[in-house]
């Protein structure tokens, strides 16, 4: 069995941790901020342990794949662990979000760590593919976290006017 690969990126977002947790708990919204998720094809609303959601994901160029994720651990509002299928030749895919409130300037911010672990298949070829894809994965995690920050900023405060 091949070794487990891990890709992890951290970003400090200028938005409150409770909003980060709220948005990343919405299993229907990943296409709005996770790079590479083209659409969420099935979801169960707020993440619940043992329940699943499905996505169509961009892979290489115009190629896409369909994935299904299962929520495995929830430690609100700090940690979330999901496992996914549909990313062959990568197997045993695990996605972890760690959320930590931190001060940003005069306000509240969030240190978000976005981690995936997986086992590359296809022997040496899979390991080569893994090495080649890791820089792109890191960039996409950073892009996703900045998109999440923008989403929360753009949605404004709960009581901010949305229609008037």
């Amino acid at each position: 069995m091949s070794e487990v690969s891990e890709v992890s990126e951290t970003a400090v977002l200028a938005v409150p941790a409770e909003r980060v947790w709220e948005v990343l708990s919405a299993t229907g919204r990943y296409a709005e901020w996770v790079a590479g998720v083209l659409e969420v094809t099935d979801h169960h609303g707020e993440a619940t342990v043992g329940r699943t959601y499905s996505e169509r994901n961009r892979t290489v160029g115009p190629l896409t794949t369909r994935s299904t994720w299962t929520v495995r651990e929830l430690d609100p509002p700090r940690r979330r662990v999901d496992t996914g299928t549909g990313f062959a030749p990568m197997h045993d895919m695990t996605n972890v979000f760690d959320v930590e409130p931190v001060p940003v300037g005069d306000g509240l911010g969030t240190r978000l760590t976005y981690t995936v672990r997986y086992r590359p298949g296809l022997g040496p070829i899979g390991r080569l593919i893994d090495r080649l894809q890791q820089p792109g994965l890191r960039r996409s995690f950073q892009t996703s976290m900045r998109a999440l920050e923008d989403l929360i900023i753009a949605e404004g405060d709960e009581h901010e006017g949305h229609n008037g």
Binding site: D150, E155, G156, G161
Partner: protein
């Protein structure tokens, strides 16, 4: 909140218990109804205008920004060959100013944003086909009789297919179709798949006047086209000024429920009273006309047509900033979003400020949620929709767009006295089956509205043209 300023000279709200007699009862105080009433009053007729809402203007609606400034939440642009509405504005003392168009526009496709100049986005794969398709559209539109499109030589064939089917035939790939759909998102509140080719060619043929054949180029253009100018004081000011001139002849808050007619008169019934008139003008969206209680019943063909002329789906989303910051970055604020974005197009909708169009007041960005974008986002929580719209704006003008001073939306599908926007689109089969019934008077009842115009159908200019034509028809019948 959107102000929907009420007409200062409009009648308030006491129910009328005794039937009043007038020469003409006009139902609907949108631009067509008010224009008809104005022309009839000028000709010495006694007129009442009955309006369901507590304001005049129909699809023209000003949003109050404070400090005496407004921005349009409804129809807003005018341009060359729209001489009817421009003439009316001049007559009412409402001046125009150029919509802001200096600097680069931005084309967003697959999440990537690129600056460009002019009206056509830089998409090398889509452009050659689109250019040929636009030339062909103009060529075919010239063969469509403007007052009877159903008599065009190929009317049956063209009305048997959607505009999208035809576009797929004449362009390679999906780029041409998707770019046409950008325009139709705001023009139809829908897509080329929802409208017949014949209807669309007639719509294009109407983007001109008696001397200048209609072209799609004029329809999509800013400078030199239908998005060239805006009105000082907002477009609703036209309706407000007309209502003032009608001097108490507009009855607000009076939804008409039924129309009865005999040989000598027509009776218009509302929850607020009854009016007996020699003629009536129904100046409502066609679908609402079909929902009135008619006695005798509307001719079934006309009823069928009006039911089929339902409006598209359109909402305007507007973000207000302290200043139009994008102008300093050399941006016009205009964005063109190919398929998959939250909005189909966006514009700098800032009020004119010092009158030069250069600002000095707040900056406003406006995006259209039209057709597919409306269907994707209208049911989502307001907060999420706002976030998605502002992120689309940020793709065009940068992250400062994420933090507006205020934000508002005007969803025209939620307006019970409009039921969508911006106009009615005919699906395949409708024009050839029922087209001749569009403007045909039913006894003493005439029909007016932007959807009843041959030129600039669905636009303010079409509404004014239709109102004037209807008034002329009534005057001709009674002289």
């Amino acid at each position: 909140m959107t102000s929907g300023a009420t007409a200062g000279a409009a009648v308030g709200g006491t129910p009328v218990s005794v039937p009043r007699r007038v020469d003409v009862a006009v139902i609907g105080a949108g631009l067509a109804g008010l224009t008809a009433a104005d022309a009839l009053t000028a000709a010495g007729r006694d007129v009442i205008v009955l309006e369901a809402r507590d304001r005049v203007g129909g699809r023209l609606l000003n949003h109050d920004l404070g400090d005496g400034q407004v921005v349009e939440a409804g129809g807003q642009f005018v341009g060359p060959t729209q001489n009817q509405v421009l003439g009316l504005a001049a007559d009412l003392g409402v001046a125009t100013f150029p919509a802001y168009a200096r600097g680069a526009s931005v084309y967003v496709h697959r999440g990537r944003a690129r600056r460009f100049g002019g009206d056509i986005p830089p998409d090398p794969l889509a452009l050659p086909g689109l250019g040929l398709a636009m030339a062909r559209m103009n060529q075919l539109a010239r063969t469509v009789p403007i007052d009877a499109p159903w008599t065009a030589r190929h009317a049956r064939r063209w009305d048997a297919m959607t505009f999208a089917t035809w576009l797929r035939r004449v362009t390679a790939g999906t780029g041409g179709l998707e770019l046409v759909d950008v325009f139709l998102g705001s023009a139809y509140g829908g897509t080329a798949a929802e409208a017949s080719l014949l209807f669309s060619l007639h719509y294009i043929a109407g983007m001109g006047d008696e001397r200048n054949p209609g072209t799609i180029d004029r329809g999509i253009a800013g400078a030199g086209g239908a998005q060239e100018l805006r009105f000082h004081g907002g477009s609703q000011l036209l309706a407000l000024r007309l209502a003032e001139r009608l001097d108490g002849r507009v009855q607000l808050g009076t939804p008409v429920r039924g129309i009865e007619q005999g040989d000598r008169s027509v009776t218009v019934r509302s929850e607020r009273g009854t009016w007996t008139a020699r003629h009536a003008v129904v100046a409502t969206p066609p679908v609402l006309a079909s929902r009135l209680a008619w006695s005798p019943r509307l001719p079934p063909q006309q009823d069928a047509l009006f039911q089929r002329l339902s409006f598209g789906a359109l909402a305007k989303c507007e973000a207000v900033y302290d200043e139009p910051f994008w102008r300093a970055d050399g941006l016009s604020g205009q964005g063109v979003f190919r398929a998959g974005s939250t909005v189909c197009s966006m514009f700098d909708n800032s009020p004119p400020g010092d009158g030069s169009g250069d600002g000095g007041g707040p900056g406003v960005l406006m995006g259209f949620l039209g057709g597919p974008q409306w269907r994707a986002w209208a049911h989502r929580p307001a907060r999420e929709r706002r976030g998605a719209v502002l992120r689309a704006f940020a793709q065009v003008v940068g992250r400062r767009a994420l933090r507006p001073r205020s934000y508002f939306e005007q969803d025209w599908t939620a307006e019970p006295w409009t039921l969508g926007g911006p106009t009615a689109i005919a699906a395949p089969g409708v024009l050839t089956a029922f087209g001749p019934w569009r403007d045909r008077p039913f006894g003493r009842v005439h029909f007016a509205g932007a959807e009843h115009a041959d030129y600039w159908n669905g636009y303010m200019d079409g509404a004014v043209r239709s109102g004037r034509d209807t008034a002329q028809a009534i005057l001709a019948a009674t002289d």
